[in-house]
């Protein structure tokens, strides 16, 4: 039998640097992602201030290009994805009835890689200027740029992307291998299903981006010629690789939001999700079709009518499973006892907003029409409707919904409603007029426009809207700060929840479930509530629980990558070698030091159960 090892507890900063607990890593992801969200939002507001008036000269030329590039890059890679990973970490193992993720150590590696990659990219602001080739970094813009901005982009995102890939594999294995007894695939909550499909998309989309970044890095650092037509290269290779990754990325972002919305609408309508199996099927189908549509970003490149038509039809087909979802959400609310909490408001606001983004998406999928819309503000309006109106509203909804589970506090509902209405009205005010700006011919990515072209009014309104969105976000920050007060302490199940994460005490024990629960149907907790049990039936007797040890190695490994990133950016091979050496040494240490974790004794678990802590 296993020896009883003593459990050394770390505290304070060292605890957070060494943690392999998925609940803490979830909080780290949320905090870091939230921080980058504020930076990306600030960049957006600065751009809107420049565009508020015609012929404005506040942030022009290169600086505007930097803001534009960093806004897109930060929001996608450093804000949206980490916040999604934050919820996945905090919630998926609990919804599955698992004690941990499959690879706790790799989970920590994933977080620190993302964190150091994001820091590296943002340091470019202070070290010679941020990248200015757009978040898509099209060649030759990105290959001929002479300052180091694009180098920071390539190295920073390469490091962050490796972390994302590790996270994706981790969640796939967790969901396949670590479900509680009775938790069949078709009993998994929709958020877990969405996380599963998203992780699959990450697995098959991110390696393409990895290669794209290697090619771009080789081009810039080692003078390769992939994208240099003078030496036989082809700039379209970058576009293809980028969008083979980039389109699945769109679904990587939106599917978890679909999952959150499904949970929230079902909970606050006091109804089982309408058409659960159709929802699962639609999620998988969207994930599958997401790989077949990348050329719709490249309709105007000139691949010919056959290629354009095939990709147009595939793109239009995605509207079908998405429509299935929209109807299912509406039918879930139909006849339900709806409670309009803040989380529910965001979810309900999401549905029509996302439909509007979807409709413009179908418009853009028609190649002949796309020649008209391409590179105009119409496209900007479209993708902000799906990403902000879809994903970000979903994330806000998830934040208000799961905040009690993650932080043991509820957020103030009155402030929450201010948050929602400011953000929601601000959002539509910002992006709705941009449809017309685009149709009237205003191009994207341009730092100014002339007066007398009837573009002034809509641009002014758009900027006012952006400021309202900023105000909504400030209300959220205030809400988070005051929630620290003990007045906001919560019970374990504040929303009358239906899924497993609401069956555990507050705060969630470090081992999650003292006894693995037995799942007896979809909406596992709700099944027990209606059966009159009120709590989950355990599937095993109380026993000792195996836990992984914390480790500082993930932090050091990522630090090594960070250092080598600087080496490659400044072509200093000693620094690059030292950084990679540190990575290899960390991997070596990890493999030669035996770390079998520790055990929480049966007596401790029993004491926790008695004291109401488990």
């Amino acid at each position: 039998m296993a020896t009883h090892e003593s459990h050394k507890k770390r505290s304070g900063l060292m605890d957070w640097l060494t943690t392999v607990d998925h609940k803490k890593i979830g909080i780290l992801y949320l905090l870091a992602g939230g921080f980058f969200f504020l930076i990306g939002g600030l960049e957006a507001v600065l751009m809107r201030i420049q565009l508020m008036e015609p012929d404005s000269k506040i942030f022009t030329g290169e600086l505007y290009n930097q803001l534009l590039t960093m806004h897109g890059t930060t929001m996608i890679f450093l804000a949206a994805m980490p916040i999604i990973f934050g919820f996945m970490n905090a919630i998926v193992p609990l919804q599955l009835g698992a004690r941990d993720v499959a690879f706790p150590y790799v989970n920590a590696v994933g977080f620190w890689l993302f964190f150091f990659g994001g820091v590296l990219l943002n340091l470019s602001w202070f070290l010679g200027g941020a990248p200015e080739a757009g978040w898509t970094a099209y060649a030759p813009l990105s290959t001929v740029a002479e300052d180091t901005g694009v180098d920071f982009y390539v190295l920073g995102l390469q490091i962050a992307g490796a972390g994302t890939l590790a996270g994706g594999i981790n969640f796939l294995v967790t969901i396949i291998n670590m479900r509680a007894p009775g938790m069949t695939f078709m009993r998994m909550p929709l958020f877990t299903w969405a996380s599963f499909v998203t992780s699959g998309l990450i697995l098959f989309a991110f390696p393409a981006l990895t290669v794209g970044f290697f090619l771009l890095m080789f081009e810039r650092v080692f003078d390769a010629n992939f994208f240099n037509p003078d030496m036989g290269g082809n700039i379209l290779i970058w576009e293809h690789i980028f969008w083979i990754f980039g389109h699945p990325e769109v679904y990587i972002l939106i599917l978890p939001a679909f999952g959150i919305i499904s949970e929230v609408i079902s909970t606050f309508s006091n109804k089982r999700l309408f058409g659960y199996s159709a929802m699962v099927f639609a999620t998988v189908l969207i994930g599958f079709l997401g790989f077949m549509v990348w050329v719709h970003h490249m309709f105007t490149v000139g691949l010919g009518p056959v290629a354009n038509s095939i990709f147009a039809v595939a793109t239009m087909a995605i509207a079908i499973p998405t429509g299935v979802k929209i109807f299912n959400w509406i039918f879930t609310m139909w006849g339900g006892q709806i409670r309009f909490s803040t989380a529910m408001l965001f979810a309900v606001g999401f549905v029509p907003t996302f439909v509007m983004g979807g409709v413009t998406g179908v418009m853009l999928s028609v190649p002949a029409a796309d020649y008209q819309y391409h590179d105009s503000y119409f496209v900007v309006a479209h993708f902000h409707y799906v990403i902000v109106g879809g994903l970000i509203l979903g994330l806000f909804s998830g934040l208000y919904y799961w905040y009690p589970r993650m932080f043991n506090r509820v957020l103030n509902e009155t402030l929450g409603k201010w948050n929602f209405w400011l953000f929601f009205i601000g959002f539509h005010l910002t992006f709705f007029p941009q449809h017309w700006l685009g149709l009237m011919g205003m191009p994207r990515r341009v730092y100014t426009y002339m007066s007398g072209q009837e573009l002034d009014g809509a641009n002014f309104v758009s900027t006012i809207g952006a400021i309202l969105m900023g105000a909504g976000t400030v209300v959220l920050l205030i809400n988070i700060i005051i929630s620290a007060s003990s007045k906001y302490a919560t019970t374990k199940d504040p929303w009358d929840g239906r899924t497993l994460e609401w069956s555990m005490p507050v705060p969630t024990p470090e081992y999650n479930f003292a006894q693995t629960p037995l799942v007896r149907g979809l909406d596992a907790l709700y099944v027990e509530k209606t059966a009159g049990n009120g709590a989950m039936t355990p599937a095993e007797p109380v026993g000792e629980i195996h836990m992984p040890n914390g480790s500082i190695l993930p932090f050091i490994l990522s630090l090594g990558m960070f250092i080598s990133g600087f080496g490659f950016i400044y072509s200093n091979w000693y620094v690059a070698g030292a950084g990679l050496g540190l990575v290899l040494i960390t991997m070596f240490l990890r493999s030669i030091i035996d770390d079998h974790g520790y055990h929480i004794h049966k007596e401790e678990v029993e004491a926790d159960i008695k004291g109401g802590r488990a």
Binding site: T3, I169, V211, F218, F226, G232, I237, S591
Partner: protein, 206 residues
């Protein structure tokens, strides 16, 4: 049972690499990782196919490639895959010395392959086919070099694994590690089969 405890013939499970949850997770996670690696190499192959005729004034693939040399390298790598199969068979029979022997042969064959590849690259550079000479050069060295780097990583991996576990027998903790290395090695081998076909054979005749 402690995962670090040496297994005996009496308590040896049918699948030691999947006998623990940790082992099962590693087994599945590594298969998925190889799925991602497949996309990685597919992207590199795609890039290479798009640029393979862009050799400008430099020598073309047909002029450069010497099939006898590449054939020898291929044979070394294919044989090393076979010897790693023997090592896994020994793993399943709890024959640790035989496992170590077969993995050492695998390691030596891998080193031989890597030596030939380095020789080949040096030869090409002397012929004027370099990383920066043309798009063909960049694509060739990136694709074949990524594969070579995978071989190198595999060599470091198996060396560490053998050295660390030399006197520990087969345990529930190290059985998945040996098994995963073998999976990785087969994957690297399969990628090479594609490189041999797409780069060398098609370069000669297509």
């Amino acid at each position: 049972m402690n995962a670090g405890e040496r297994l005996t013939d009496a308590n040896f499970p049918a699948h030691p690499e999947k006998a623990t949850l940790e082992g099962k997770n590693k087994f599945l996670g590594f298969w998925l990782f190889l799925g991602g690696e497949t996309v990685l190499f597919a992207t590199l192959f795609g890039t290479y196919l798009g640029l393979r005729n862009m050799h400008l004034d430099g020598p073309s693939g047909a002029e450069l490639f010497s099939l006898p040399l590449v054939f020898l390298a291929t044979m070394l790598l294919l044989t090393s895959s076979l010897t790693s199969v023997y090592a896994v068979l020994s793993l399943k029979q709890n024959k640790v010395r035989s496992l170590q022997g077969w993995f050492l042969v695998t390691l030596l064959l891998g080193l031989g392959f890597l030596g030939l590849e380095i020789y080949e690259f040096i030869h090409y550079v002397h012929e004027g086919h370099t990383f920066t000479s043309s798009a063909f050069g960049s694509a060739f060295y990136t694709l074949v070099g990524f594969h070579g780097a995978h071989v190198l990583f595999g060599i470091l991996w198996i060396t560490t694994l053998l050295a660390r576990n030399w006197n520990r027998g087969i345990t529930l903790s190290n059985a998945p590690k040996y098994y995963l290395f073998a999976l990785y090695w087969h994957f690297v081998d399969v990628v090479w089969v594609f490189i041999f076909t797409v780069v060398y054979l098609m370069g000669k005749v297509g």
